[in-house]
Subunit: 176 residues, 2 copies
DNA sequence: TTCTAATCTAATAAC
DNA sequence: GTTATTAGATTAGT
């Protein structure tokens, strides 16, 4: 399990954490007057975070805008990054990946049944499944992609086992 | 441009073409009493189609259910597959891919602006963009995937040009 | 034709 | 084990 260290600085204050496209678009980067505070973030999937200022996170070449809930100061009276629980949650949401979908048994059953018959459903069938199963069409598409990968994997594994078995048979014969 | 040939047969009749998961799930395959008629289908992306009976298309290992609009007969009085315009459209919809999304200039502008800042937007930013731009979140995701591929392509091309230019420079020098 | 949206595979991350 | 994301290669629509 990897984790990244982020250096931070606070400059201004907002009522609630705000993460908006406006902020992303309105960003100006040219204010490097910083005192920084380390912040641990569990997000190994998005590369290395370089630093966080009052409303920005630099993430390698990439960048995110944020605003902080309250003004925070360290012992020297300098502003300090002190993420709240809700702030961290929101941050993780904005940085992170889609929450894992938990398919119900019934949904899986239907998807598997369709997969048996057609493992490459077109847009129409995907849409119909989505409506029927109360899922997004895109989740259906991803499910079929992953299901095909699984099938291929199991195929490869069974072939490997067959090769292994025939080698074993050969060796048995040699011992006779 | 490839195209597949499908052999077909009609057995029963319905008011309109019907493509349902119910049919896919309720399918029984064991009735191979067929006279077939070729049908051209433009769908090279989904593998080879083997045949169509009154309500099925066999597509390699895969399979789709269909029903035909009207009874059709050939000169011998045998049922024949005669797809109507609307039937073919529906068929293509069910077999085919998602209709190509046409992004507006304004949408592209915003997406490009965000891409400049963050080419790997997390689920939160994607959702926010989707809401803001009246697009599905997964279209946003695909757009960023394709945009990253384009960037990489142009990167490779400019590198190629630079190498080519320096070779050219070298050759010029040698001529002196 | 060129550009790019959509799809696929394979590998890998995350939970 | 299974869902989500990525890069990279293709296919195909405008």
């Amino acid at each position: 399990m990897a984790s990244s260290v982020v250096s931070c600085q606070i400059r201004r204050v907002e009522a609630r954490p705000v993460f908006t496209i406006d902020h992303i678009l309105g960003l100006d980067l040219n204010r490097p007057e910083l005192r920084t505070v380390p912040l641990k973030l569990y997000r190994p999937w998005a590369g290395k975070i370089l630093f966080v200022s009052n409303h920005t996170i630099l993430n390698g070449e990439h960048l995110l805008m944020i605003k902080q809930k309250e003004d925070a100061h360290d012992f020297n009276g300098k502003p300090q990054f002190r993420p709240t629980e809700s702030f961290s949650r929101t941050l993780n949401w904005y940085i992170g990946r889609r929450p894992r979908t938990a398919f119900s048994n019934e949904q899986i059953e239907v998807l598997e049944s369709v997969f048996l018959i057609n493992s490459y459903p077109g847009i129409g069938i995907r849409e119909e499944l989505a409506q029927r199963l109360l899922l997004d069409e895109d989740r259906i598409q991803i499910w079929f992609q992953n299901r095909r990968a699984k099938l291929k994997r199991s195929h490869r594994e069974s072939q490997f086992l067959m090769v292994k078995k025939s080698i074993g048979d050969l060796e048995e014969k040699e011992e006779e």
